[in-house]
Symmetry: C2
Subunit: 340 residues, 2 copies
C-alpha cells in the first residue's frame, strides 16, 4: 500500500506523520500533497477568529462535539481542528493547547486535532496551514475548523482559507475591542457572542447590530437586487437569495448553550454559498490566496539559492553603513540575479 | 529648495505629504527615501506592542509627552508616533486613533503623529512602516514610537523594526492572555504593567517575573560571562555588561504614573545597546528584515509584470478544477517566467 493509499484508507498514524512533513515542508510532504490535492474540495472549512479572552478554544471544542453528536437523525461528521497560533513564533505554546482541548474529544476516531505554531515567517505558516487543511480534506474530514488566536492581519489571511468565517466576541473585553471589531467585522459570516452569561451581553449585541447596520445598510443592499426580492416577498435573511447578512449568534460554550443553533447557522450559510454560486467564487479566491503565498515563498527560496556566495552580505553591509538605501539594495540584489 | 532640502529643514507640510507618498508607494516617495536614507540612523526607535485592552495608546501618548517635558535640565526631544493598525485591513480605523491621541500633544511642533492602516498585504504594511520611520529619522525626530495594535506575528515583525521593544500588559485581561505572553515575552526589552490601579496588578507582576525567570534563568546566563562579572561585583542588571534582562515597569498611563521611570529605563536600554555593541547588531538585523520585506514585495511585482496576459488566470482555473495541485501550479508559473 502506498502512502497516499494508506492515507485515503483513513490511517491516523500515517496522517499524523504526513502533517509533520507538511509543517516542515519536506519533499515527501510536497509530493504527497501533489497526489492528494485531486481528492480535496469536499470539506467545509470553517474559520474561527476573534480577540483573546473570547473563549474561542472552548467554542471550537463544542462545535466539534456537536458535529460528532448531532441532534435528529443526522449522521455524525468527521471533524478536524487546526489551531493556528501566530502569536507563538518562538516557543511551542501550541502543544499546551492540544492537551487542554483534548478532554471532551479524546478517543473519538472521528476527530483529529492539530495545533500549529508559526515557524519564522507568517507566509510559511499560511502555506503550512493550507497544506494541513488539504491533507484533512483529502482524507475524508468533512468539517475542518481553523482556529486562530489573536485578531490581526494574520487572522484575516487565515480566515480567507475558510468557506464560513465565525468571528467570536465576548461581553466586557475593554476599550480596544471596539477598534478590532471594525476591521474584523467585514470578514464575518457569523458573529458569535460567546460567554453570554457575563454582564454586558445585551450591550455587546446592540453594538454589533449597530455596526452591522452601518456595514450592511439593509435598504441599500436590497435596492441592488430589489426587483426579484420584492416578488418573492423580501426576506432579510434568505439562504436562496444572493445576499448573506452576517448573523449574530449567542453562545455559552462552556455550557454548550447556543451550539446546536450555531451549527445550524453554519449549515444555512453553506446552503446559501451553494445556491448563490458563492461557493465557487470563494473556492477561487481561497485558492488564489493560497497560490500567492506559495509563489512568494518559492520565489524567495529560488532567488536565494541563485545568489552568489557572500553577495547578499556585501550588499547588506553597504546598507548598514548607509552607503546605499534599501531600495537601491533591492535593485542591486535583483540585478545580480539577472546577470547570472 | 528641493523636496529633500525642505524636508531636512523641518517643514511639516512637506513631511506630511511625503508620508502619504510613502504609504502609497509612489515613485516620488521612493526617490525621496533613496535620498533621505543617508541621513537616517540617529533616532532611537521604540516599539510598543501588547494585547488589546492594555492601554497602549494612552501609554504612547504619555511617553511622548514625557520626552517633550523632561525632568531635570534635559533638552526636550523631537518625537514621532507611528501607530500601526494591522487589524483594520479594510476600513480606516486609524483616523479615529489620530483624533483621540491628539488631545495632549496638539500644537506641539516637536511632535508628529501618523496612523497607518494595513493596505491589503502585511508585507506592504511593513515596508510602508519602515519607510515612514526612515522619513522621521532623516528629518530629525530623535524618538520614534512605533505602536502596534494586537499581539500577533505582525506585531513581532514590526517590533523587529525597533531598538527597544516595550511589551504592555494589564491586570485581569482573561485567560488567553497567558498564551500570548509566552510568545511575545521573548521580544520584550521592557515589560510594562499598565493600569496598575486595577486589582490583580501584583499577581500579573508575579506571573511575569516567573515567566522571565523561566525564559532567562539568571545563574545560567551569568555563568557565561561569569569571570568578568565576579571581578566587578556581579550586578543582576547593569547597562555596562553584555546582558540585558527584561525590566518590569509598573505604570498608570492615564495618571502619568511610572512614566518618568519608564523613560529612564528606555534610556538605560539605549546606553546598554551602545556599550555592549548590541546597537550595531540590532541595526543590522533590523535592516536585514526591512530588506527582506522590500525584496519580497518587489520580486512579486516584477514577476507579475513579466507574466504573459491571461497566463495566471489559466493556471488558477486549472487549480480550481483540481487538475493541478498548488505546488504544480507554482512550478508552471515560475517556469513560465524563465522561458520568457
Amino acid at each position: 500500500m502506498t502512502l497516499v493509499q494508506s492515507l485515503l484508507s483513513g490511517d491516523r498514524l500515517t496522517l499524523a506523520r504526513l502533517l509533520t512533513q507538511i509543517e516542515n515542508d519536506t519533499s515527501q510532504g510536497r509530493a504527497a500533497l501533489m497526489e492528494l490535492f485531486a481528492h480535496t474540495g469536499d470539506a467545509h472549512l470553517i474559520g474561527v477568529t476573534g480577540a483573546p479572552g473570547t473563549g474561542k478554544s472552548s467554542l471550537v471544542n463544542r462545535i466539534a462535539y456537536q458535529y460528532r453528536h448531532p441532534t435528529d437523525e443526522i449522521e455524525p461528521k468527521k471533524v478536524a481542528i487546526v489551531a493556528v497560533d501566530p502569536t507563538s513564533p518562538f516557543s511551542g505554546g501550541a502543544v499546551m493547547g492540544d492537551r487542554i482541548r483534548m478532554r471532551d474529544l479524546t478517543g473519538d476516531p472521528g476527530v483529529f486535532i492539530r495545533s500549529m505554531a508559526s515557524r519564522g515567517s507568517l507566509g510559511g505558516l499560511a502555506v503550512a496551514t493550507a497544506g494541513v487543511v488539504q491533507a484533512f480534506d483529502a482524507t475524508g474530514y468533512e468539517i475542518i475548523l481553523i482556529e486562530t488566536v489573536g485578531a490581526g492581519q494574520a487572522e484575516v489571511d487565515i480566515a480567507r482559507l475558510a468557506h464560513t468565517t465565525l468571528v467570536v466576541e465576548a461581553p466586557g473585553l475593554g476599550d480596544d475591542i471596539q477598534a478590532i471589531k471594525a476591521g474584523i467585522l467585514e470578514i464575518a459570516d457569523v458573529l458569535v457572542i460567546n460567554k453570554c452569561d457575563r454582564p454586558g451581553a445585551d450591550q455587546t449585541e446592540r453594538a454589533l447590530r449597530n455596526m452591522l447596520q452601518l456595514a450592511h445598510p439593509g435598504p441599500r443592499v436590497f435596492q441592488h437586487h430589489g426587483a426579484a426580492l420584492e416578488v418573492d416577498g423580501a426576506q432579510p435573511q434568505n439562504q436562496e437569495t444572493q445576499i448573506w447578512l452576517p448573523t449574530i449568534q449567542r453562545t455559552i460554550a462552556t455550557e454548550g448553550e447556543g451550539i446546536p443553533e450555531l451549527v445550524e447557522t453554519i449549515a444555512a450559510h453553506r446552503a446559501h454559498l451553494k445556491a448563490s454560486g458563492d461557493l465557487q467564487r470563494r473556492e477561487r479566491a481561497r485558492l488564489a490566496v493560497e497560490l500567492e503565498s506559495l509563489l512568494q515563498t518559492n520565489m524567495m527560496a529560488r532567488w536565494r539559492d541563485s545568489l552568489a556566495n557572500g553577495f547578499y552580505d556585501t550588499v547588506l553591509a553597504q546598507l548598514v553603513a548607509r552607503e546605499i538605501s534599501p531600495h537601491a539594495a533591492v535593485e542591486i540584489l535583483l540585478q545580480g540575479e539577472k546577470s547570472k
